[in-house]
């Protein structure tokens, strides 16, 4: 019998990983990779039948070797890399290590390709770079998909939503057969990027599926929930590939992702959280929609000089009060800052009442008040110099006396946070920056508009509420010494309950609350059990 090790592809992946694909008639081939002084068995080995070998036996393999403990093993060109089965060594040259990944995707047999997808989906190997991702996406789209229902499985997708920023949530159900081994895995993709899907199987009760119990392994708890995050804003059509364990005759079940506002995805995620009994799994699902904290933020450029007294105030306002109250807020801010105001209202639409309130304020104010924009997100950086002031109306109304006057110097960013401890005898000290990040008090913030907005932009897709993105930015700027976070006495402050970000997503949970959960999960990235 030919017990030779057949190596079709062998390539390296980031993090000191090597992936080998091929076939072997050996039922348990004891593969070893030799690289430099390291000799390492596979960290993970997948076996599967290959139609090209005309056998139902699992002759195909995909092996993952982890050389991360040997950081130099793959870097020294003078050292050869060998893949060995017993005493049989196959030399892998550096060129193959670099190019075989693309080759597998382009010309590898379907089963090896599908195994590679499972490797990515499981998280055992990092997702490939953009170039290879596009090739993978192209092949997924060209490959045969599995039906939703077959003798081997039945699977439904009830909901699959995707926010413009890349957050996705899905739910469905899965009924395997008694012989099925392994878990569902999934990938989401658009035209140019792949995302690993965190999928919580057996997460929800689905007693409605009992009629299937004669044909499949029905447990009563057959609902799954899934979440993911694409790293960049979505482009083109987007789909989710759910891979059925043991089924390599097709890529998996493909389902289109429905575009939804971020708020809709957050609501669906919140519903998913509520449906899960295990808080750890719920957190893992939520965490799957988040970008790591370090992403999207570099060291801030130095803050420019204070915009001169003649520069306008770009007021980015979350109006959380009644529409007529906008007039009072604008009046107070106008008097306090002594600058002309360009108002950007964080709202879906300018209602007649809001328009009248703005016009009323403009008729009274000593300096011009102009509506420059109305959208749920902050504006782009303005062309000319401007001082940006950001806040909720209720906060600015309360803090008007402490806002910067036209002649006040502004260095970097200034944050005034309504700290309930600030008014207490022993509450003025302590780590205000930490309280600002953790307790999430309402605040007003100001600084050079162009400088702040340029840095804020990349963070806006990470939160439902712009205030949360600005909180994140301010915390990072403070850590770099470019923002001052000061406490303000909260005595007499009452928060507004209106506006686009105060309306509950579900029950009493507002977008602010949702962002607070996201921030907590991002602060503690390892807490919670895997989904």
């Amino acid at each position: 019998m030919d017990l030779k090790l057949h190596i079709d592809f062998c390539f390296s992946a980031p993090g000191g990983l090597v992936i080998a694909a091929g076939w072997s008639p050996h039922p348990r081939p004891e593969l070893v990779i030799h690289a430099g002084a390291a000799s390492v068995p596979p960290a993970r080995m997948m076996r599967f039948p290959r139609r090209d070998l005309r056998s139902l036996e699992p002759l195909g393999y995909l092996a993952l070797f982890d050389l991360s403990d040997h950081p130099d093993a793959l870097d020294d060109p003078s050292e050869d890399v060998f893949l060995a089965l017993g005493t049989e060594y196959s030399r892998i040259d550096g060129g193959r290590l670099a190019s075989d990944g693309r080759s597998l995707v382009e010309i590898g047999v379907d089963e090896s390709f599908y195994a590679l997808l499972r490797l990515f989906a499981s998280g055992a190997a990092p997702l490939p770079d953009a170039n290879l991702s596009r090739r993978i996406i192209g092949r997924i789209q060209a490959a045969s998909a599995l039906p939703h229902e077959a003798e081997t499985h039945a699977m439904g997708v009830d909901r699959a939503l995707l926010a413009p920023g890349g957050q996705g949530v899905a739910s469905g159900w899965f009924l395997p057969t008694a012989a099925t081994q392994g878990d569902l895995t999934a990938l989401a993709f658009d035209d140019s990027q792949l995302a690993r899907v965190t999928l919580a199987q057996a997460a929800t009760l689905r007693t409605d599926l009992e009629a299937y119990s004669a044909r499949y392994a029905y447990s009563g708890r057959d609902g799954w929930l899934a979440a993911f995050r694409m790293q960049t804003p979505v482009s083109g059509s987007a789909r989710m590939l759910v891979m059925i364990p043991g089924q390599m005759t097709g890529s998996g079940v493909l389902h289109s992702l429905t575009r939804s506002p971020a708020r809709g995805v957050a609501r669906a995620l919140t519903e998913a959280r509520l449906a899960m009994a295990d808080l750890g799994r719920a957190d893992a699902l939520h965490r799957a929609t988040l970008r790591p904290l370090a992403d999207g933020f570099d060291t801030a450029p130095p803050a420019p000089e204070t915009p001169d007294a003649g520069a306008p105030l770009l007021l980015v306002l979350d109006h959380d009060l009644g529409a007529p109250d906008l007039r009072d807020v604008l009046g107070r801010v106008s008097r306090a800052t002594g600058r002309a105001i360009d108002l950007h209202l964080l709202a879906e639409a300018l209602t007649p009442d809001l328009r009248d309130a703005t016009d009323g304020a403009a008729r009274e104010a000593a300096l011009p008040i102009r509506l420059s924009g109305c959208a749920p997100q902050p504006p782009e950086a303005p062309a000319g110099p401007a001082l940006m002031l950001f806040g909720r109306s209720s906060v600015l109304f309360h803090l008007a006396g402490r806002l910067p006057g036209a002649d006040d110097a502004v260095t970097g960013a200034t944050v005034l946070a309504l700290d309930p401890l600030a008014g207490l005898p022993g509450g003025a000290g302590g780590d205000m920056a930490a309280r600002f990040a953790h307790d999430r008090p309402p605040f007003a913030a100001w600084g050079d508009a162009g400088w702040l907005l340029a840095q804020l932009g990349p963070l806006l897709t990470d939160t439902l509420v712009p205030e949360s993105a600005l909180r994140l930015l301010a915390s990072r700027l403070a850590a770099q010494g470019q923002a001052l976070i000061a406490p303000a006495d909260a005595t007499g402050f009452h928060a507004g309950r209106l506006g686009p970000f105060a309306a509950p997503l579900i029950d009493a949970l507002t977008p602010h609350d949702f962002d607070a959960i996201s921030a907590r999960l991002n602060d503690r990235p390892t807490e919670g059990t895997a989904a």
Binding site: G322, D328, D359, G492, A495
Partner: protein, 407 residues
């Protein structure tokens, strides 16, 4: 000559409330004195306006000095015009008078924004405001009565939020807006010490509000009393007012029911006439209450006849379950020379002190006792009549007004 513009939230040609009546009497009196004075009132809201105005019509001119604006409906919580165009128009109208003095008898239908802009546009004009009730303090119709029916003693954001089911911040904003608005006025007037104290407790600086009673022109002296008239009148009681829940008519009828239960012990017949309310109107509000046969509903009356009608009674009952401020019915009773049985709170307690019989507000037992304590007691009636001082007339009001406003 100084030009005075008297502005009211309503116009007595269309509605006959205390504030607008006081404002209009002031206007008429100044007009009689030959002063350069204008009056402008307003309709209350869109429905009212539709009855009196044609399309696009903004003002009714009753004379070249007497106007009524088309009210577009103003949320008294916000106290701003619903549309900025309405505010623009009212402001333009007020500015067109080129007044030296603008005397406001309310700010509802005028708007806080209108007042701020008027102040800015005419910095040298004197702005005066007479506070007729507690609207600036209380968003529950300015009555400082909680929606649960309890009397309210002080406003604060959280308590008001609990009372009216709005966010506390709404009340913080409203208070700030009202304080700013009141600060615009050069002179604040109040027709009662009670109202003055409430505003001072709320934050208006002590001494900032001057107290002047509303003027009432009724120069005829009450008729002389005989033993016979005193005996007759001591058995006759009356209520003058509307069938609104805060006027306490239900308290009065419950008290009458108790008196009726012990009617056999009465030394003489008793009668109570309800003026301003019909039996049907009463039954609509309080279908479960059945007044005794000696309670008669007299329906509407002409305001100018009120004092004369009151002179037929021994006692006028004012059983309001809200504070009241300076009810015109008390002045009218004084003009009629008829003493009162009054709730022991607010403006009623203040204005009937010394010549009225007071009972615990909202308590039918106490009211029944008060009525029985004076029923068929001509000597007590005569004693109380003797203690009544005539109300301030319009000449007296104008004199006090000139002092308070330094005019």
């Amino acid at each position: 000559m100084t030009r005075t513009v008297i502005v009211s939230h309503s116009h007595p040609n269309l509605r006959y409330g205390g504030g607008e009546v006081a404002a209009y009497r002031q206007f008429q009196h100044m007009l009689e004195l030959g002063e350069d004075v204008y009056f402008t009132g307003s309709t209350i809201g869109p429905e009212d306006s539709a009855r009196f105005f044609g399309p696009a019509q903004r003002v009714l001119a009753f004379s070249d000095r007497d106007f009524c604006l088309r009210g577009m409906g103003m949320d008294a919580f916000v106290m701003e015009h619903p549309r900025i165009e309405s505010e623009d128009w009212v402001l333009d109208f007020l500015l067109a008078f080129e007044g030296d003095v603008y005397h406001f008898h309310h700010f509802w239908n005028i708007g806080a924004g209108t007042l701020r802009r008027l102040r800015a546009a005419r910095p040298d004009a004197q702005l005066i405001c007479t506070l007729h009730e507690l609207t600036a303090i209380c968003a529950n119709h300015g009555q400082m009565v909680k929606t649960s029916g309890e009397l309210c003693y002080a406003a604060n954001e959280v308590a008001c939020a609990a009372c009216l089911g709005r966010a506390p911040v709404d009340f913080a904003l409203r208070r700030a807006r009202m304080v700013t608005m009141l600060d615009l006025f050069d002179v604040l007037l109040s027709p009662s010490h009670f109202l003055t104290r409430r505003f001072e407790d709320w934050g208006v600086a002590p001494g900032r509000i001057a107290m002047i009673e509303n003027g009432l022109d009724h120069t005829e002296l009450p008729p002389a009393q005989t033993e016979a008239t005193l005996a007759t009148r001591s058995r006759r009681f009356a209520f003058f007012g509307q069938a609104t829940p805060t006027k306490g008519l239900d308290v009065l009828i419950r008290a009458c029911a108790q008196i009726e239960a012990d009617a056999d012990e009465l030394s003489a017949p008793i009668a109570l006439d309800i003026h301003g309310v019909t039996a049907q109107g009463f039954a609509t509000l309080w279908p479960d209450l059945t007044p005794p046969a000696w309670v008669r509903f007299r329906g509407r009356y002409r305001p100018q006849d009120c004092v004369t009608i009151m002179q037929d009674y021994g006692w006028i009952v004012i059983p309001s379950v809200w504070w009241e401020n300076s009810p015109v019915v008390i002045q009218e009773a004084r003009a009629a020379g008829t003493p009162m049985i009054a709730s022991d709170i607010g403006g009623m307690a203040e204005k009937t002190e010394g010549w009225g019989v007071q009972f615990r507000a909202g308590d039918p037992d106490a009211l029944a006792s008060a009525i029985l304590s004076v029923h068929d007691q001509p000597l007590i009636l005569a004693d109380h009549i003797d203690r009544i001082e005539p109300p301030l007339d319009l000449a007296g009001f104008t004199q006090e007004w000139r002092v308070a406003c330094a005019r």
